[in-house]
């Protein structure tokens, strides 16, 4: 089984770190993994992409990801300027950081889940150089929305990557995102 | 008016730059090229040549200055050798990628370490993949004529690529022989004023060569390959036209000598092409059907011409004044690759000779030919690559 994930974000939001942490979490669960950025001239603020692959067999692929199973969108504005569902597999899941409910987002022929990761970061005062950190909490949301990785492994990877208060805060954000994630396909409200 | 002078190939390169009405020259010294730029300094300082003469502080800057000057709409010229050419390597790629018709004289000299100021082709052949057209000359007259032909070719809108005119250090660069300098108006009628494919113009602002993403980069590379193919077609035409106007022509891509019925064809580059004629004539008298083909243009490589030379030859011998360490000489490699899949492909024996200025005399060439003929008779090339006269 091969799962391919595309992460949309802005330069400086940590899309590549998100891909790397996601892969690391899957690796702990015994999977073969791969994580890589889209190689372009990243600029702070500019739309960027990063990718992860998770599989039971060794991964020999080195091409771009063209038809992802899952898409993570770190920035609430990006889906208005970039087609985040491009190439998404049938019933693929898009997880967005936004205050909006899934059905308010209006993405077609895909399953949508949403969580206000920015809000969580502001709530926990989880900031770097003034901007909210969302690339760790969104992994909690990813675990909830897809079940591909367990929350405990997300927290384990976060605490291995950041020690002390930073580790705790990022782990707390991931837990909150896990709890607050809304699955559009289950949410009848 | 027309004049015949007795001078070195280096000085003739200077005469050619003057005749071509070059407007910007970037000059930096390196043995054995130095007297080219010294000659041009003379012309500029005594008013014979109306050009801007930039005394740059390195070869890397020499090529950078030429690139920007050519991009600002003028004909440019520079000259270098060996490590100077190697230092330019990055800029050579930039020049061809910018499709700027810069002409540079390369006075061939071995690459170190250790230091060697004597000729071989290891410097220019190391640059064969940079998108530069490469001419190799066998006489002072050919140097003068080829610089002019190169400008005509490079400024053709189907080409717009830079070119190297290579000549061996000392054997040509510092050797005095007679050479004819045609009248300026006849040269002007052959070589019209500079025309570039694009330029930096405040009235039509552009940014040149900013980032190209994967979606179009390959297509730009392909257009350079197309330009090289066009050059392969245009070089013989320009050579013939030059011959009609001035009485000198060099066989276009390949200068063939008595190859029509040859059993063995010797492939050479540079001045050994002329010494080879002596060996061929001598062996012909002995009833041996030998011919020689001097590869005048290494890029674009004259693959089709090589195939035409197969005829009823059973053996090709390549003489490389170069070695690509861990393999063979480039001439051998490219001749062999041209033959792949052809009907009645002759055997090929590769010879390495004349590295670091060692002589490749007609006797040496005769020895090479006789060994090749022996292998032709036995039907077996016993040594894929032979280092000629290698000390024990």
């Amino acid at each position: 089984m091969l799962r391919e994930i595309r992460i949309h974000g802005r330069g400086g939001q940590g899309s590549v770190t998100a891909a790397e942490l996601l892969a690391h979490a899957a690796f702990i669960e015994g999977k073969s993994v791969q994580a890589f950025p889209y190689f372009g001239a990243e600029r702070r603020g500019a739309p960027v992409k990063a990718f992860a692959r998770v599989s039971d067999e060794p991964i020999l692929l080195h091409s771009q990801v063209y038809s992802p199973d899952y898409v993570i969108v770190l920035d609430p504005m990006i889906y208005k300027v970039v087609d985040v569902t491009e190439g998404l597999k049938k019933d693929g899941i898009v997880i967005l950081n936004t205050v909006k409910k899934p059905r308010e987002i209006g993405l077609k022929n895909c399953r949508v889940a949403s969580v206000d990761a920015t809000g969580i970061a502001l709530e926990l005062n989880l900031l770097v150089a003034g901007s909210p950190v969302v690339n760790t909490s969104i992994l909690g949301a990813f675990a909830k929305a897809t079940g591909e990785i367990k929350l405990e492994n997300v927290l384990k990877v976060i605490n291995e990557t950041w020690s002390g208060a930073a580790g705790e805060k990022n782990a707390k954000a991931a837990e909150l995102a896990y709890e607050r994630l809304i699955k559009g396909w289950e949410d009848s409200a | 008016m027309e004049q015949t002078i007795i001078d070195t190939a280096n000085h003739l390169a200077g005469y050619a730059a003057k005749a071509a009405r070059v407007k910007v020259v970037a000059a930096y010294p390196i043995t054995p090229q130095t007297t080219v730029v010294e000659k041009i300094a003379e012309f500029v300082e005594n008013g014979e040549m109306d050009a801007e003469y930039i005394r740059v502080e390195s070869e890397h800057s020499a090529m950078a200055a030429c690139i920007s000057a050519a991009a600002t709409g003028v004909r440019t010229f520079t000259a270098t050798s060996s490590h100077g050419l190697a230092l330019m390597h990055e800029a050579l790629h930039w020049a061809s990628g910018s499709r700027l018709p810069i002409v540079m004289t390369v006075v061939n000299r071995a690459m170190g370490a250790p230091w060697s100021i004597w000729p071989d082709f290891s410097d220019s052949l190391s640059q064969r993949d940079t998108g530069w057209i490469q001419f190799y000359c066998a006489s002072n007259q050919e140097v003068f004529d080829t610089v002019l032909q190169a400008y005509k070719l490079c400024e053709n809108e189907q080409v717009f690529l830079p070119a190297m005119v290579c000549l061996e250090g000392f054997i040509l660069s510092h050797t005095y022989t007679p050479a004819k300098i045609p009248s300026q108006e006849k040269i002007d009628s052959f070589l019209p004023p500079y025309k570039s494919g694009w330029s930096l113009d405040v009235d039509h602002p552009v940014s040149h060569a900013n980032l190209v993403a994967p979606d179009w980069f390959m297509e730009f590379r392909y257009s350079i390959q197309e330009a090289m193919e066009n050059a392969k077609r245009l070089i013989p035409e320009i050579d013939r036209d030059y011959g009609k106007r001035f009485g000198f022509e060099y066989g276009g891509l390949v200068e063939k000598y008595r190859c029509e019925d040859a059993d063995l064809v010797l492939f050479t580059m540079g001045t050994m092409g002329s010494d080879a004629k002596i060996a061929v004539d001598k062996m012909r008298k002995e009833g041996l059907k030998v011919g020689s083909a001097r590869i005048r243009v290494f890029r674009p490589f004259p693959m089709e011409e090589i195939r035409k030379l197969i005829g009823n030859a059973q053996m090709f011998a390549t003489i490389d004044r170069h070695i690509s360490f861990g393999m063979e000489g480039f001439l051998a490699t490219e001749i062999k690759s041209s033959l792949l899949g052809q009907k009645d492909t002759p055997k090929v024996a590769g010879f390495i000779a004349g590295l670091g200025g060692r002589d490749v005399s007609s006797e040496t060439i005769e020895k090479i030919a006789k060994k090749s003929l022996k292998w032709m008779d036995t039907g077996k090339v016993e040594e894929e690559t032979v280092w000629v006269d290698l000390r024990k």
Binding site: - | S61, A65, A71, N210, A213
Partner: protein, 296 residues
């Protein structure tokens, strides 16, 4: 003396370019065109501007701009100047616009060659104090103690004094400037344009991405760099040194803010020990003793 409202409204750095939000160098580039107009040909080596102009087939540069090799800005400018002279084209200002790495490190040889030859052009080093385009690696122009990705514990050497190096070439005009003082920078560009020969302007251009501060503070930080005396605004015209406002009033130590006020706003100096901070303060004070002697 120019005022803000006298500056032309035309923009030759077109909006929608690829600079990071809060980019100091982009302020500098806009001001360049306000001072010099658009009869300008630019040589730009590998640097942030290479990407800021945007990818083919678009560019946000409104003047002819040749992207050149990293080491070659000085040589490229020589080529352009020579060609324009050969074509007898007048009234075009040739500008080299390069980052600090492309100036004080890899490009210093070509620049020195061009200056020594007296090439008639204006060279502007926009200094964000590291290799910004490749993600903030240490350059010769990175200040002592600053974090970069290649000096995680802070740079161990002091910032290379490029203006002095250029002045040593006896070129007619050397100046320092800062994107927080637009009128000073524009006046210097206009003066440079009126002088024949090689003119060098070293422009401090704060960079939020690299210095790690909030994007809104770019101008405030540039001001503090000057007010603390860490960055002095001066001109060296045919060897004559003069301090420009407000630096001319900072020879008096009491008028200078402590360097800490500037350094502590930037996360790249977070690891700075008190001892290193004092060392930086002492170096600044020494510099100003030197400036005051040169003023006379």
């Amino acid at each position: 003396m120019t005022t803000l409202k006298e500056l032309p409204k035309e923009e030759y750095l077109l909006k929608g370019h690829a600079a990071c939000a809060g980019c100091g160098p982009s302020i500098g580039l806009r001001l360049l065109f306000k001072a010099l107009g658009n009869k300008v040909i630019m040589a730009v080596p590998a640097c942030c501007t290479t990407v800021i102009q945007g990818p083919y087939p678009f560019t946000s540069a409104g003047v002819p701009l040749q992207n050149v090799l990293f080491e070659t800005t000085g040589a490229a400018a020589s080529g352009i100047v020579a060609a324009l002279h050969a074509r007898k084209l007048e009234g075009i200002t040739v500008v080299g616009w390069a980052g600090d790495g492309g100036t004080v490190d890899i490009g210093i040889q070509a620049l020195s060659g061009a200056a020594e030859r007296g090439t008639d052009f204006i060279y502007i080093c926009y200094d964000n104090e590291a290799y910004g385009n490749t993600g903030m690696q240490r350059s010769g122009s990175t200040p002592y103690g600053a974090w970069t990705t290649t000096t995680p514990l802070g740079k161990g050497e002091r910032k290379k004094d490029m203006p002095s190096i250029m002045a040593a070439h006896r070129i007619p005009y050397v100046a320092t400037a800062c994107t927080s003082y637009p009128i000073d920078f524009v006046n210097k560009l206009r003066k440079a344009k009126s002088i024949k020969g090689t003119k060098y302007i070293h422009l401090l251009a704060p960079c939020p991405t690299g210095w790690r501060y909030d994007t809104s503070k770019t101008v405030e930080l540039g001001r503090l760099a000057v007010q603390t005396g860490l960055w002095a605004l001066f001109e060296i015209e045919n060897g004559k040194f003069t301090l420009n406002s407000p630096s001319d009033r900072l020879v008096d130590k009491t008028k200078r803010k402590p360097v800490g006020e500037y350094l502590k706003l930037q996360e790249r100096f977070r690891g700075l020990t008190e001892e290193k901070l004092q060392m930086i303060q002492s170096w600044v004070d020494e510099d100003w003793v030197r400036y005051s002697k040169q003023c006379v």
